[in-house]
């Protein structure tokens, strides 16, 4: 039989246990928000830093002098040929294009804004590539108001031009699909060239790509740390597909 001492100890545990429980509960409730805020703050800082990198990258690397001078040359040719209408259009879209780059500081923007930005870029490219370029865009109406990290589609499209169309002859077919399924947003950018030498089985990890793609991956990691998201590049038939999946946010 249990002696009195053990019984007293049992009673003591019984009396103290709820005190410990209540203390733990209060501790969790009081400090939960502060810990959360700290984590959010750290994530926000990292995100801002990444965005700065993105802006920097956009301004200094991805709008390479190469692209800039090509566009200027295109404009010059249009002026020499006295194609005034096209020249005006070219200058207008170029102005819009640069304005967007300078004013975007949010970590997430609407898909429709990103698409408008991509359109400006493509308008410039159409002046350069003319009939060679064929663009198809399928953006689901539901996705237009959804949010995505800025310059995401733009970076992938630029990549297609830089590594695909500019290095190869013949028709340049670009296809952009944006759709949602099961609470996730899917972005696909197809181009009709191999960005790397042909290897059917090879799955490219983002780390092997340029800074722009790595930058997208990093921002996705920061924005959706615990949720399913990916960015990968693969070859289907003779086309290159870059696909991105992340949670649909509105």
């Amino acid at each position: 039989m249990m002696p009195l001492e053990s019984f007293s100890l049992y009673v003591l545990i019984c009396v103290l246990a709820p005190l410990v429980g209540a203390f733990t509960l209060s501790f969790v409730m009081i400090f939960e928000r502060q810990i959360d805020n700290l984590q959010k703050e750290a994530s926000k800082l990292a995100l801002e830093k990444e965005l700065q990198h993105a802006n920097y990258d956009q301004l200094n690397q991805q709008i390479q002098p190469h692209f800039f001078f090509n566009t200027l040359n295109t404009m010059l040719s249009l002026a020499r040929l006295d194609r005034k209408e096209e020249l005006i259009k070219g200058l207008e879209v170029m102005a819009k294009f640069f304005k967007f780059k300078y004013v975007t500081h949010a970590s997430l923007i609407k898909v429709e804004d990103e698409i408008a930005y991509v359109n400006n870029y493509l308008d410039i490219q159409i002046l350069r590539f003319a009939e060679r370029l064929e663009v198809t865009k399928n953006v689901e109406a539901f996705c237009e108001n959804a949010l995505l990290p800025p310059f995401m589609i733009q970076t992938i499209v630029e990549n297609a031009f830089k590594h695909g169309f500019e290095k190869n002859m013949g028709p340049a077919r670009l296809k952009i699909n944006v759709y949602n399924s099961d609470g996730f947003m899917y972005i696909e950018v197809w181009n009709s060239y191999f960005i790397e030498p042909i290897n059917e089985k090879k799955e490219y990890s983002p780390q092997e790509e340029g800074y722009g793609i790595r930058n997208i991956q990093k921002r996705l990691d920061l924005l959706f740390p615990e949720q399913v998201h990916y960015l990968n590049m693969r070859y289907i038939g003779d086309e290159t597909l870059v696909e991105v999946k992340f949670p649909l946010t509105k």
Partner: protein, 413 residues
């Protein structure tokens, strides 16, 4: 957490204490904590595996087919009634002891309150009231034992227990260990099949899921221990009749009106939050996974209307059933224990198996339960619960082997 400080705890812990001694009381709290801890460990894996679901029924919809889906959905609905029924009995006992009016009237008002909060108010209202309940629960379990043991001292209680209930003080009670092990199995089944726990799994931010369940397990474990101390206060001065009224009799033992009110609020809070959570989860389960597949043209408004009707009817049913309740609570727990134990292998396969699930898998629960209670009638309930678990496990594995044949033959055609 309020969902787990259920009327079950209030009602079953006296039974386990009285039947299996102080060891049973401690075991009860460890068992509950372990099962919630275990679910917390799986929680992240479940969220990654099924990122787009909201309820346990959604998982069935994703993994099961045809009659398998229907059987599992109905079993889960039936298991939900167990907990609701226990809360209703608890509330009936409490109101019967407290008020000098027929408990039908007091219970009616209580259910009406639950209907407004859970049936009409929904999850937002439930969560608002859960916070208040937790406050009263902790206030009561801290102040009442503290006040009493400071006033009376442990010696007087020890003497009383030794005189009237010496069996409680025996620690070498092998049956108690077996009871704890068995109850652990049952509790794991209960958590795995609990609709409101699954709902909460998807309401909590993903990165906090594990830590939330783990801290709930820890904090929860302190409650049954405190309850066992409160029970000792009730029984040390004499013998007792029915065990499930025991804890509520505490209200007659407490002198200061402040503590009596606190104790009433504690019981009221614990019972009502559980009923609210259960009613809400059961209603959603019924409307979303039973009504909607049968009538897919339902609009949101129709679904809302049907959910009001269903929750109202469910509470009315409970009100009627409590009048005919004549049972031992532990027997009731054992009856459902067989089902909970049998559902563990099936649930684990549904959650973790990467293979396609056989239509026959959910039948393992029924088979395990029926065979264990019919063919093994000579054994004790504790033993047959284990048999139910093992039989269901064997049938589950067999049905999964059959699934290979089922699918390969379909593809070969």
């Amino acid at each position: 957490m309020a969902r787990w400080i259920t009327g079950n705890t209030i009602l079953s812990s006296p039974e386990s204490l009285v039947k299996y001694g102080l060891l049973g009381g401690i075991g009860y709290s460890l068992v509950g904590a372990f099962s919630i801890f275990m679910f917390g460990t799986f929680a992240n894996k479940i969220r990654f595996r099924f990122p787009d679901v909201e309820t346990i029924g959604d998982v069935f919809q994703e993994r099961l087919r045809k009659d398998g889906y229907w059987l599992m959905t109905i079993i889960i609905l039936f298991l939900g009634l167990d907990s609701l029924f226990m809360q209703a009995v608890g509330a009936a006992v409490l109101f019967d002891l407290l008020f000098n009016i027929p408990f039908t009237v007091s219970l009616f008002f209580f259910f009406f309150y639950c209907f407004i909060i859970a049936g009409l108010g929904g999850m937002k209202w439930i969560q608002k009231f859960e916070g208040i309940s937790i406050f009263f629960i902790f206030a009561a379990i801290i102040f009442i034992p503290l006040y009493f043991f400071i006033q009376e001292g442990a010696f007087k209680v020890y003497d009383g227990i030794r005189l009237y209930h010496p069996y409680l003080l025996f620690a070498k009670n092998h049956e108690a260990y077996f009871f704890i092990a068995t109850f652990m199995l049952v509790a794991c089944g209960q958590v795995l099949t609990d609709r409101s726990t699954w709902q909460r799994l998807y309401m909590i931010e993903q990165k906090k899921v594990r830590i939330t369940f783990w801290s709930t397990a820890f904090v929860w474990s302190t409650i049954p221990i405190a309850l066992s101390a409160m029970l000792l206060i009730v029984i040390f001065e004499g013998s007792f009749g029915e065990t499930y009224t025991l804890l509520f009799q505490l209200i007659t033992k407490i002198d200061p009106i402040f503590l009596s009110v606190l104790f009433f609020l504690f019981c009221f809070g614990a019972l009502s939050t559980t009923i609210n959570a259960e009613i809400h989860a059961t209603t959603i389960h019924f409307i979303k996974h039973i009504r909607l597949p049968l009538k897919s043209s339902m609009t949101d408004q129709q679904m809302r209307k049907e959910s009001y009707i269903f929750s109202g009817l469910l509470l009315l049913f409970l009100l009627i059933v409590t009048h005919f309740a004549k049972f031992t609570l532990l027997d009731f727990l054992f009856f459902y224990g067989h089902l909970y134990a049998a559902s563990i292998p099936v649930m684990l396969i549904i959650i973790f198996s990467k293979r396609k699930i056989s239509r026959l898998l959910p039948y393992s629960i029924i088979a395990g339960w029926l065979i264990s209670v019919t063919l093994f009638g000579g054994l004790t309930s504790l033993q047959t619960i284990w048999i139910s678990f093992f039989l269901s496990g064997v049938f589950s594995v067999l049905s999964m082997l059959f699934a290979r044949v089922e699918f390969s033959s379909r593809y070969s055609k």
